[in-house]
Symmetry: D2
């Protein structure tokens, strides 16, 4: 066992038999599906880069749990160094794949569980932490990818879990037996669920008395009976099915809705069950880790977008335009502020009772709020710099057509010394990075809604000390 | 003759035989093509609304040229009222179709020509203005839609027209005869070129001595021999071909690249030929009119996006959330500031020597700069309000699948009293308005690049009077 | 009588004997006070410009009420032309004085009263409209300046008028007699109250049953017994008292708190008294007019700030720096969008039952929201362009000091061909326009709080039609 | 010797006899001057906090150079821990004093010199590093405050140092002797120069061949003959002289222009002299450290402003308003992103050949660009939340006036349970933090112009690797 190559990873997925649908049809061969494979390749890059001289030392490390070399994507952080490595790896990956690599959410779940299961045990005398560690050993020894089953479909947003008309709008336990539990519900936006070996389920929000059935956490293989993956639409998905005009020729992203249609989970895979007061901890820990992850990968994606914009300037003959350089600076500025906040959240992390390290919540949320606005602006800047052919560019099939291909090559040429093919390819990449909804919508909604980030920021900030400081300067006695 | 119904308009297109390609194949039936028809329908709405009680008086008016009732989309503005009507019609249309209606660019060309041909004649003793008026009578009497052939492909952006390695990177006259001229070149982003009867070509930038062959303006039917329309890719184009998950069930947009492969133009359709010093006038007049048009239609599109966001709040159960109301206000604010500037540009218009009215350039450009940034923000707000299913929503085909359809309907339900179908449809519309590149990229690049708008703003503003005012207050003698 | 010269205006103020305090002392000579005179001069400019060839036709017009030529600052708008003239005069004035001219608020009160008094009479059979018209004749015949007594001090903001612990936190009627009423309360931020002949009082918010005593409107001379003007602090006020380092050598702004310490108002000057349901109309009409006014004068102030920044570029030797030109464009863009919205609000105005014209509320509020953010940005840009000496510049007294004056002149010199005195003066003007709190704070709070503008925007927009438009496109049947 | 108390610090300043002018007059008693003392108190706080239990361990540390406990404001960073401590101390100080504490610039000079003098010696065989270390021992043993003489007055900005018409527009060596050098020039914005014991002079920009006389660095006591401090104007300076309406009752900021009128510097205090190629290193190291410092202190100032805004909400009765809470979040968000970037720049620092640690330049500059825009927005938000009385608030003298004091106390009251005095004091503090130019202008221009930060960001970023990453994804072979 030990760390997997990309090839071994893909082969291991081939062994799984998940129930999956896409665009109304059942899919049986996941790995070779042209819509899903580029997503699997993106996750595969986390395996592949671990084998390169440049990134090996950053990505691989020793796990104290199994005393073996592991890929950091299976390692809950045990030190500040581990927290920082998360951000740096994510930035490198974001730049490398130019989209989401889809493996961070699983690690964010492992990290949250490695903190909260311990705390539950301390209060309730349960043994979730040990169960979790056994599961973690399995993950590390087999270099598995996990998926984060967090986002419930939520039904009527103005109501809590057990208040819903349909009790299944948040995933819940429908029965318990000696062997385990049966769960029902659905999780949306399951980034790369079919690229994962295991699905880890956590509650998506704080739970209150009456919500006991909803305070549940567990892990199951992605092909467990009753689990149905429905790959939804994203803006450019058909291009991959058509096999042309793809833009990013290597990588893509997909995020199924995953339905748990009465799924059995054995007790050894159950990590919380009924401890409602810990649901909020679980989701806050997960989402804080996840907001920190975004600070890394999204700054890496801006790096890649900046590179695309700079190439477009070269290909269009505009590389000396001062106003475009100013826009490049605006792009870099956004990448660095995002990265800086996420790094700081890591360096300012602290050890939790279980031994796992947790990031600084305030800084991680500040970073995510920043992302929510600034990624859109970075994309807008890339489009502005690149030019209008981010839309309306003729298809590769048109270029291949004998009647009009030569004319298109003639007219789409930019700088004379740049092959027209390169200019067309770079426009396609810009189009992909700007207009792929599976990727860009998560800039806003990934890791919880923008309002969730804001509320967290306010709640976690020390308000009273700021008020006191102002009163002292104003000369008001406390 | 006289104003056409939508049906007559579509029938008239059916009579045309343009040379068109899409995704590598020749298309012969334009009107019934599922990718093109929604664009034709959007333009058709300009005919259809003219027949409604609500909009008839706004859209139809009497043309002094032919002394008949015409659709305002064939009428160069002859008064302030005409200028203002342009904006109001565009706003109503933008809200009505939720995308670009694709008929404004032709009017913007007619308006520019009706000013500049007169000025050329005054200087050069030519007879372009009369020729143009004959053409305009034809357009008005037949209620034709025209397309704006302005944006050349441009080659190396750091070089002028005649400096290019390939002399055809800007459209040019390659030969002249007694009967007319032959032109060669290509025009990009030809919004709705196959929904148009006529293509009007103008130069895309200022021309200098040496550029005489490039200073050319003319009009030809869209099926003139040598003209090739290549419909390029846009982000959601496949959905229309698939016939499902369309979002906007009525309307869409497409923008071919149009190649002029040695096209003959008879003299009576030539409106400029060699008068280089007027090229800048032609493009400035056109683009100023077009920037004003955007202020109308894009504020109308924000109206429609605001409506979509409000419906989503109803369907999600979030209509009472204060922070979402604040975001709705931000959306409305952007629509109104855009609309306000565009209206002001109209009310502050002035009569030109030919009798045609021209808008205030400073205000029109200020409006377009505003659009370039604020449309992206309006879209971001709509996505934020609506929720994550702007991406990853299962396909209509999944909902129709007997194995999983019922489960999806169960889990995608929001507020209990709202049919799940409505929520799904509204998410699809939001996706279409947010992620359709053929539409959204023009928010940035339509009517010239953002830098063009900025340079125009600086050049047209009275800088010296501002400096004098400051010096007077500072106590500096002039 | 008829329109006054600036000199006659100042002489007329000299005849008044208001009770005024400043910085702890009673002031008796208002007109020659060095802190107040620059404010009086700013209002005086509205008289002076009316006598110039350039602006006479814009500022003077015929009043149908008295059939004489009047200054437009005494004319409630009777046509679209009148509405538009307000904005254009305000822009010209803002550029001319580089600050607030302080005469618009009175006109905004006259305009509101000329609409709402009529409506009250229609419902209640009162005779406020006639009373008001008599008062208006007096104002017009004597070319008077009026002050807007609108902003109550408000006490606890979470409570309504009659719910306050101290019943006087909103101005109210404390007694009624056959001759008139006695009022008590205080109005804050009374821009130019001592430069005004008359103070017009309106309610500052909607009133409810129980608030009858607070639903009061009237006009009294500014030196009526019981009225106390307290001139508060602004950031640069001491400079004017010191008589050096003034920056704007001609004009300034001041805004007293005005206390109504049991002031008697005769019935013929009472324009509302107890009709609570009309309080909201009064304040909405006033504030909408006032928000439109801001769109004019603040864009004029940006013009002047842009001029100052351009002069600084000349004096610093940076006039060719591309990045500074980009910032100049950003400044112009803000002036024009503000102006455009305000103009549009005027052109889209409509006639009210009394015959007076009212602006489009949505556009006027959109303009004010824009101001609230964009004026701060325009100031920031001016400071950025000008350089660091917006702070820390040695005093004129240092330049005059024989020991160090020559050294300072040597070292503060910028471009060799620009006298050092001019550079120093221009820095002072920039400092004044950036840092004078009496002026800049109104960019945010003038015309009501930012939230008030936002709430108005939402309330006045047609929400339902937008929702319907979106549903139609999504394919949802109503 | 060893670390000083605040009292000892002030006493030590009393022993110095600098030549100083303010508002045209010579000042001899610096320490008791009411305009200067609040600045000295702000710097004094760096001594005072070092004696508190809460901050002692953060501020004091052992210097390896003298093997004694020192205040970190005298310690060039020798580790990542030292770099991080800089930011945390600055944030605590910013919150504590609500303005600039004025001691960071000296440390930034010491830090730059401790890197670059070593590098010069390595190349040129000079002994600047040893000289500098002797000076540093003196600073550490006496716990001295140093001032950064960096910003030259610059004359014509379009010309370099030796190209100026007046050769003294950048500080230069005018003669050399065996004993030392004589320098002439002037340095602007010398934050707290009279609160400092020593003035350290560095070049303000890159120097080229021909600029040898300008490539000079040295340190001299602030009362060295020939040095003239001219305290310039700031917006609220008169308040301190008047002794009322001060706002921040403890602290303030001032920034003289310091003229070097042929000042002799002995060789042992000269740290660079003629090595033009190192001038750029000197200024880049200084300014990068200084941009990092800003990230700390300015986030601390936002903390204090947030506290003031929250107090105002309590005092106004608006603490439950949702839209104001949203604005508080916006303020916190800005503090945290600024702090995060500055922290990250520290944690990502690296050791230089001399042993001193240097921060990450890209992140430090990203932070400063952020500050340049976001501080203005944070101030705008504080003003928005607080209400209109940030301007126009009656003077304390008015409140003390027996005729109107009681009326003002009555009418300025907000929430009934809050003493009116407290509300007035808090408004004054907000006014001070929003409108004090000596403080706020440095948000934009401190640490070099905004354009300098942007150019640095672009230059220091790895552009090529980003371009390569994009080409790989687009499928373009290198």
């Amino acid at each position: 066992m030990g760390v997997k190559t990309k090839e071994a990873y893909i082969e291991s997925l081939r062994q799984m038999k998940p129930t999956a649908y896409m665009f109304g049809e059942r899919i049986t061969n996941i790995v070779d599906n042209p819509r899903l494979r580029p997503g699997i390749e993106a996750t595969g890059a986390t395996y592949e880069m671990a084998q390169t001289d440049e990134y090996r030392d950053l990505i691989l490390t020793r796990s104290p749990l199994i005393d073996e070399t592991v890929n950091r994507f299976t390692l809950p952080p045990g030190s500040i160094t581990d927290l920082v490595a998360r951000v740096k790896i994510n930035r490198a990956m974001g730049n490398r794949v130019g989209t989401c690599h889809q493996r961070c959410t699983g690690l964010d779940c492992l990290s949250a569980l490695s903190i909260v299961t311990y705390d539950i045990d301390q209060k309730h005398g349960t043994s979730y932490f040990d169960r979790f560690r056994e599961f973690l050993k399995h993950v590390q020894k087999n270099d598995l990818t996990c998926n984060a089953g967090v986002t419930d479909v939520k039904g009527d947003r103005s109501l809590g879990a057990h208040e819903q008309a349909d009790k299944d709008m948040y995933l819940r336990v429908v029965s318990r037996s000696e062997a385990g539990i049966v769960v029902r519900g659905a999780k949306a936006h399951q980034t790369g669920s079919l690229s994962s070996h295991e699905i880890i389920v956590l509650p998506t929000r704080a739970m209150r008395p009456g919500d006991e059935d909803y305070a549940v956490a567990f892990a199951v293989p992605n092909d467990t009976p009753g689990i149905i993956h429905v790959v939804g639409r994203s803006s450019l998905d058909s291009r991959e099915l058509e096999g042309c005009d793809i833009g990013n020729i290597r990588y893509s992203k997909y995020c199924p809705t995953v339905i748990f249609n009465d799924v059995f989970v054995p007790w050894e895979r159950v990590f919380m069950c009924g401890e409602t007061e810990f649901a909020v901890d679980m989701v806050v820990k997960f989402s804080s880790f996840h907001r920190q992850s975004h600070g890394g990968c999204k700054s890496g994606k801006i790096d890649c977008m900046t590179g695309a914009a700079l190439n477009m300037m070269d290909y269009n003959g505009t590389s000396k335009a001062g106003h475009l350089k100013q826009k490049i600076i605006e792009m870099i500025h956004r990448a660095e502020t995002l990265y800086g906040c996420s790094l700081a959240a890591s360096y300012e992390g602290m050890q939790m009772p279980s031994g796992t390290y947790f990031i600084d919540t305030v800084l991680a949320n500040a970073s995510k709020i920043h992302e929510g606005k600034e990624m859109a602006e970075a994309i807008r800047l890339m489009v502005d710099i690149s030019g209008g052919f981010v839309a309306d560019l003729p298809s590769d099939r048109d270029f291949a057509n004998p009647e009009i291909g030569a004319l298109l090559k003639k007219y789409l040429k930019g700088k004379p010394d740049v092959p027209v093919e390169n200019r067309v390819k770079m426009f396609r990449l810009v189009e992909k990075m700007a207009m792929e909804s599976a990727d860009t919508i998560s800039d806003i909604h990934g890791g919880g809604s923008p309002e969730a980030h804001r509320v967290t920021l306010l709640r976690e900030s020390d308000i009273e000390s700021r008020k006191r400081a102002a009163r002292r300067l104003a000369g008001i006695e406390d």
